[in-house]
Symmetry: C2
Subunit: 141 residues, 2 copies
DNA sequence: GTGTTTGCAAACTTTTTGCAAACAC
DNA sequence: GTGTTTGCAAAAAGTTTGCAAACAC
């Protein structure tokens, strides 16, 4: 039997904070946001609620270097992360559940889903980098 | 100018330890392996060398929940990770650099590569799980 | 009233770093 | 000899957890 979940003020604030952001915030980001509304909330509560909300399927998360990042989107979609500043954006690439089945067949794992993370430089860090190194794009247009 | 790299005994041992394993070891795994040969090596040295070897393009790594895992394979390939025990295996799925260019076009990032991680239960944990819950595969055959 | 949740603090895991001594070149 | 690398220890970053008080139902 599933554990009974209660609607606490803090839980609602954490959920609202995730829903209010489009930039894939970290747990710390959410903690800081919620603390502006409820000054006495603790990091522990934020972490616990982020995990519970994800288990409940109300939010999702992406694991990238630097920590877990949260997302109000529930559909499977890819992300791009900047190696320089950590900026994380949605990458509108197609998601195929057939890939999951193919991976299931080839690995013997029972695959639930997959996540694709594109790694590179965000526009701002590209500019900063280009001024030092020159352009090094790998994709011709 | 690039930094001059020296061939130290410890660096060679760390590289050899990665090359010797097929199970995508963690930094701690490598530390323990190398310590069997060079008892006085420190974790700091292992971490530093794993990072340097990756920068040098001699090894690669996969970032998964639980930490960084290392791989002697240098070609881009997908992985499957077990949510229960953390087992990490290669997933022989096709890798398309065209996806990188598509993501570059849609995000504005300068994409270097992408990593795909399939998430699910490894065969062993499936068996353990099925005994409790019954089969819950999502892929029909 | 019962059982979940909170805030706090401590602990934990993984990784990085400052420093003086040791080493590679 | 010069500059990199090492071992050590401390610290950092991110996250989890034990506990008693507070709260939701």
């Amino acid at each position: 039997m599933a554990v009974q979940r209660r609607n606490t003020h803090q839980r609602q604030l954490v959920l609202n904070a995730v829903l209010a952001r489009n930039d894939h915030p970290s747990a710390e980001d959410i903690y800081l946001d919620v603390r502006n509304i409820e000054a006495t909330i603790s990091r522990g509560t934020v972490y616990r609620n982020l995990n519970l909300l994800e288990e409940s399927g109300l939010i999702s998360s992406v694991h990238v270097p630097g920590g877990n990042r949260f997302d109000w989107r529930l559909d499977n979609h890819a992300h791009a992360v900047c190696t320089s500043c950590g900026m994380l954006v949605d990458a509108p690439m197609s998601y195929s559940t057939q890939d999951d089945c193919a991976a299931e067949a080839s690995t013997g794992f029972q695959i639930m889903s997959h996540t694709t993370v594109y790694t590179g430089l965000c526009p701002r860090c590209q500019t900063a980098q280009t001024e030092l190194d020159g352009d090094s794009s790998t994709c011709s247009i």
